[in-house]
Subunit: 309 residues, 2 copies
Amino acid sequence: MKFATVQKRIEGVLAPVITPFKRDLSPDADRFVKHCRWLMKSGCAGLAVFGTNSEANSMSVEEKLELLEALVKGGVPAAALMPGTGHCALSDSVKMTREAVRIGCGGVLMLPPFYYKGVSDEGLFRNFAEVIERVGDERLRLYLYHIPPVSQVAISLALIERLLTRYPGIVAGAKDSSGDWDNTQAMLERFKDRDFDVFPGSEVFLLDGLRAGGKGCITATGNVNPGAIDQVFRNWRSAEADKLQAGITATRKIVQKVPMIPALKAITAHFGNDPAWRTVRPPLTELTSEQDRQVITELKAAGFSMPGL
Amino acid sequence: MKFATVQKRIEGVLAPVITPFKRDLSPDADRFVKHCRWLMKSGCAGLAVFGTNSEANSMSVEEKLELLEALVKGGVPAAALMPGTGHCALSDSVKMTREAVRIGCGGVLMLPPFYYKGVSDEGLFRNFAEVIERVGDERLRLYLYHIPPVSQVAISLALIERLLTRYPGIVAGAKDSSGDWDNTQAMLERFKDRDFDVFPGSEVFLLDGLRAGGKGCITATGNVNPGAIDQVFRNWRSAEADKLQAGITATRKIVQKVPMIPALKAITAHFGNDPAWRTVRPPLTELTSEQDRQVITELKAAGFSMPGL
């Protein structure tokens, strides 16, 4: 293994960055870089590119690697990147993780292989272990991505325990997108002394998470509301914290009344005055015009804006 | 579009061929070709390579394309192949389908994109339509793969109706692995006059399927019991049909007492005297030695064999 240069781990707000597509549905690298740069100057500490909200699983490994290269060339610091590199196919996960480490990404956020259901922790352990061993680089910082409502394959606390014991320092944390605070709390509690950084998968749990030892959040709405969410992160010990949290929770609730991914794209299209952002790849569909109007109207009424976009 | 040479569609028993892996977990092309050749001479009318039972979703597109090339070079007729070409990523599905058509495969068996859950029929229609349009070749014969217990994304009758109306001749049929005979029956009934070939996803429904207009079956146990299953296909109108069906159903029930994919590999390893077949890719795990012993013992007691393997 190569020796690691000690690099501070990412803490704060991360956006699972939405991916712009051209009319022919190919990824739009220019718009992607521009949005990532805006996110980094608007409150995001890091970018969890190629997450669920990125429609990452609707893209090939090659398409993702091209976008990753464009980002780094476009001046986004690799240390702030936590790309999604977990695929159904072991070979794809290895290829993408290796490349992320090679370019110096701060970490990778790894889904379990999600096609086969009802698989054992032993099988999942072997999957992650194979990726770690094959990448074979001590610079790897692997964050486990627990999102059972979508993946239908969970990352149990027992699996984390086993991976963390076998690969301390490499296994660096988790994103908990279960939407189940009890699970997040149990994860925080169990691994609090284990050099394991927990990020709730929604800003709704940001303040509770920070109070219980969490390191921030990785959240869909980080794409459109990074500044306000970052304010909760920066001021969580202050007297204002609960009020700030209530504000970002209210915004989240408006957005999630309609399907999340096309909603984030519609909001970015509207507030950035760039309709091309509305394009999604199948199997997703854009919002209906009524849904689009609803979310924009409610956000405007709540005083929402995307300054500098 | 290129013009089609009229080619008889595949009918009969198809095996979703299990994929052998070497010790380093790379696909073993030689063993794969050998097994495929055995299947074709032992009762299979076609090979649904890269299906669920093939651990296809644990392999990259490149790995699958290499195996496909090895098969054709190894003398397996392309017209008998119905490779799985449906991926989460539209770009992967297009690439793999295009290649399957280029080498003359009899058809392709296409999963819906299966990462995002709760997607609309409109989104799924767009996915299949994009693949068909981008491949742009009238030789394409697309079989829809309905396997909600695993994919968690269903192919509804309404979606089939829409695809069939828009792409008659190209949309050629479906594999129904719902395990729900009512669904298979409804599919057979609704599309009986529409040039749409329905294959139940288990030989348990083979005879009922044939009596209701089905064209055969695409079944896991076709990997190990192709001859007996083919006998039901060949003799379904005979007085012996129900008895033959009872026999293959009994064998199936023995096999599915333990996890199916490692079971098929253990059986092939045992009866082919080739222990290397037991290797599976994560996230799957091989059978426990007790499970292995159980399935082999029960099969032997039932007089099961794999002649010529």
